[in-house]
């Protein structure tokens, strides 16, 4: 059965319409609702749809022609729809692939058979892939985009391959630039020396050797931020340097120290006991200075200089006079372990009134030390020479005067040369 498509009234005021383009050609299968043509009314260009399904028999109006509303513009064979139902897909393929042929020259039939009937989705897939390429530039913040332009980066390609997040920000671009222009080793060097990547030209990849060469040529020091331990050590020695101190040196006998030395009761352990005993008899070395005045402590608490690499610790042996030799030795072991694990507690670094720094094991003959925190003095102990050991006191003059320090030194010498002290302690 024949069905005529007529020029529709597309607005209340429309009397005539101009046919703009045909979306169908003779021989095409048309389904109800398909767009068959574009028509310009007095208001706008609009699509017109078929109200019936069928095969296009003929087109009655040429593009550009203006006809009155109600005029037939095309003829469908509505029976053909049933006969040729299988062909519908083919027609639709052709329609979308090729531009609509002019009605004067109907598309040759064989073009339809050439269309990829076996995979009707191919065109659709193709267009989906093609779409991003028409979408220029990827998704990025204006600032990131500007940076990418400067470094010659293709944001879109990088986002496509997954090496840039979407949307990309400045930090992401910087990462890509760094990875792009520097080898991983070179990047490590940049980070360690806090060098800006801008120092190196863009356009080529830089390796570690180039960065090293730059560092050497420009004599750039490796920055190393101070950690808390270093900061506190610096603060302590700065304070120590402000103290009004004097030095006093003498030698103490080494004989009994050596004789009573064991694997656990080392010279250091003995020195702690020795100085503790001397401190008990000279209260100036058990004294601390506070804003309120002096404080004299009843027991001998001693800070001992212990180094671990570049770090120096002054852990405090509390009340050494009350501890047995083995307890002091055990405490020393505990501190050694804690220092190795860097686990010394804050409370273990306070409470002393005197310090000892023993470098005897290094072969240094004599030296002087800096007073730790609030201590009254520190003893710098050197190595043994000809049966005696050099002891240098650094004394805070505000707490102990020279005469008192000399008496303390005498006491020390007497104790070191007196075997009964060593015997008493070992019992």
């Amino acid at each position: 059965m024949e069905y005529q498509i007529v020029m529709p009234r597309l607005s209340d005021t429309m009397d005539e319409g101009q046919l703009v383009t045909w979306k169908i050609a003779p021989g095409d299968a048309v389904k109800k609702g398909d767009v068959v043509a574009e028509v310009e009314s007095d208001k706008a260009v609009m699509e017109i749809e078929s109200f019936k399904s069928g095969i296009v028999q003929s087109l009655l109006v040429e593009p550009g022609e203006t006809v009155r509303v109600g005029t037939p513009i095309a003829v469908l064979d509505t029976d053909g729809a049933q006969r040729d139902a299988v062909g519908v897909m083919e027609h639709r393929e052709t329609k979308t692939k090729a531009p609509a042929p002019s009605p004067a020259k109907p598309a040759p039939k064989k073009e339809k058979t050439a269309s990829p009937k076996q995979d009707p989705l191919a065109w659709l897939l193709g267009s989906a892939q093609a779409q991003p390429s028409s979408y220029v530039g990827g998704t990025a913040s204006p600032r990131a985009r500007e940076a990418a332009e400067r470094y010659g980066l293709d944001i879109e390609a990088l986002q496509h391959e997954g090496s840039l997040p979407t949307p990309a920000h400045l930090a992401d671009i910087k990462q890509v630039v760094l990875r792009h222009y520097f080898t991983p080793r070179a990047l490590q060097l940049l980070t360690r020396y806090q060098l800006s990547a801008d120092l190196f030209a863009v356009g080529k990849k830089h390796d570690a050797a180039e960065v090293e060469a730059y560092i050497n040529a420009h004599d750039i020091p490796m920055p190393e931020p101070l950690d808390m331990l270093r900061k506190s050590m610096i603060a302590i020695v700065n304070e120590a340097a402000k103290k009004p101190v004097y030095h006093m040196s003498d030698r103490i006998e080494a004989k009994w120290l050596k004789a009573y030395e064991t694997e656990t009761a080392t010279v250091t352990v003995w020195l702690l006991k020795l100085f503790a005993e001397a401190m008990l008899r000279h209260e100036g070395f058990r004294t601390t200075l506070t804003a309120q005045g002096l404080q004299v402590w009843p027991n001998a608490s001693i800070s001992l200089a212990m180094a671990s690499g570049e770090y120096l610790y002054m852990p405090v042996f509390r009340n050494v006079n009350l501890l047995s030799l083995s307890k002091v030795a055990a405490q020393l072991q505990v501190y050694k372990t804690k220092i190795a694990q860097r686990r010394l507690g804050k409370e273990e670094l306070v409470g002393s009134t005197f310090g000892i720094s023993n470098l005897g094991m290094t072969g240094i003959e004599s030296f002087d030390a800096m007073i730790n925190k609030n201590d009254s003095a520190i003893a710098a102990v050197g190595s043994e020479r000809d049966g005696s050991i050099a002891v240098t006191l650094t004394v805070d003059h505000r707490l102990v005067n020279g005469y008192q320090a000399a008496l303390f030194m005498q006491e020390l010498k007497a104790l070191a040369g007196d075997e009964t002290f060593f015997k008493k302690v070992t019992q």
Binding site: S141, P142, R143, A144, E146, P165, P167, A168, H169, L170, A171, D172
Partner: protein, 325 residues
């Protein structure tokens, strides 16, 4: 020194040096002001210079305009911004326009003090902010004092200026404590960098500056980034130079305001950023503002209707994390 004491001191000092300065408003004289800003001044300067007016806002501002025309330097106090609506014909249609329409023959050296904002449970008709309307009127200077030192210096500058100034105060700030540097030279039109930082620019004004500052530790902890907090101080004109330097540094801008979001003043700052700073931005601008609802009386709902330190921190963290932080 308290915020209200700083304002009192500013008025006192200018009244002492310039006898043309008069203060007028409801209860500004014998009562000492609803917020105690003019406390003690009537004893010093008398009722002729501290004028208690009837409850008639239109006449307060209208009279002030007349006084200014005739050579005085009036400081008119509105009790709360919502009541100023009755005076808006004078504030919008007269105050900013006389100089323009008289070809410069008439100047109005006057200040309208303007307490506003969400206080505590004063409900919908006593909680609003009107900077968006005031700043839309060419010819008005609009200052917003969020800081004690700024309050002192800016109010003095406003009183000594020959331009009509609306001086916005926030009702919750009167008991805020702060230091005043009396010798400092403070440009009332310059924004204040409250806290410097390299990563996120947060622009605010009035009480929200304090709320932003309360939110900053949480933001910095969660994001590992530094915030730069800017108090606009002058809402019209705006110190865009300070904003520009900050946005160029951080690549971002967050605007925090207490007022309702739609049509709110912060939109002007964000629009400036989009127009002028587009190529410097690394994240879309973020605007944190009050909800588009009349301010509720219920305290829980009242706080839900405006930004709080908690909501500011949460919003900024979520925004930064959604933008590659």
């Amino acid at each position: 020194m308290l915020y209200r004491e700083a304002l009192n001191r500013a008025i006192d000092e200018v009244m002492a040096i310039d006898e043309t300065v008069v203060v007028l408003g409801e209860d500004v004289g014998r009562y000492g002001g609803s917020y105690r800003v003019t406390e003690g001044l009537v004893a010093k300067y008398g009722e002729a210079r501290l004028i208690d007016t009837p409850i008639a806002e239109l006449s307060i501002v209208g009279n002030a305009i007349g006084m200014a025309m005739a050579g005085l330097r009036p400081v008119a106090e509105i009790m709360t911004a919502n009541f100023a609506l009755l005076a808006f014909d004078q504030i919008i249609n007269h105050m900013p326009k006389y100089r323009y329409m008289s070809a410069g023959k008439i100047t109005l050296p006057m200040v309208v003090r303007f307490p506003q904002g969400v206080s505590r449970q004063l409900a919908a008709q006593h909680s609003e902010s009107y900077e968006q309307m005031l700043c839309a009127v060419p010819g008005l200077r609009v200052l917003a004092a969020g800081d004690v030192n700024y309050a002192y210096h800016a109010l003095k500058a406003a009183m000594l200026s020959d331009d009509p100034v609306v001086f916005i105060e926030h009702e919750l700030l009167y008991t805020k404590k702060g230091e005043v540097d009396f010798d400092a030279e403070v440009d009332p039109f310059k924004a204040r960098v409250v806290k410097a930082g390299d990563d996120i620019t947060i622009v605010s004004y009035l009480k929200m500056v304090d709320d932003v500052m309360a939110a900053v530790p949480e933001i910095e902890k969660k994001l590992g980034k530094q915030c730069e907090v800017i108090d606009l101080c002058s809402l019209n004109p705006v110190d865009y130079d300070t904003l520009e330097a900050s946005v160029k540094k951080t690549g971002s801008i967050v605007v925090v305001e207490e007022d309702h979001k739609t049509g709110g003043y912060g939109a002007q700052i964000v629009s400036w950023a989009a127009e002028k700073m587009f190529y410097s931005l690394d994240e879309p601008p973020l605007r944190i503002a009050g909800e588009d609802v009349p301010i509720p009386y219920n305290r829980t709902l009242e706080l839900a209707a405006i930004p709080t330190p908690e909501s500011i921190a949460a919003r900024i963290v979520a925004w930064a994390e959604g933008n590659g932080a």
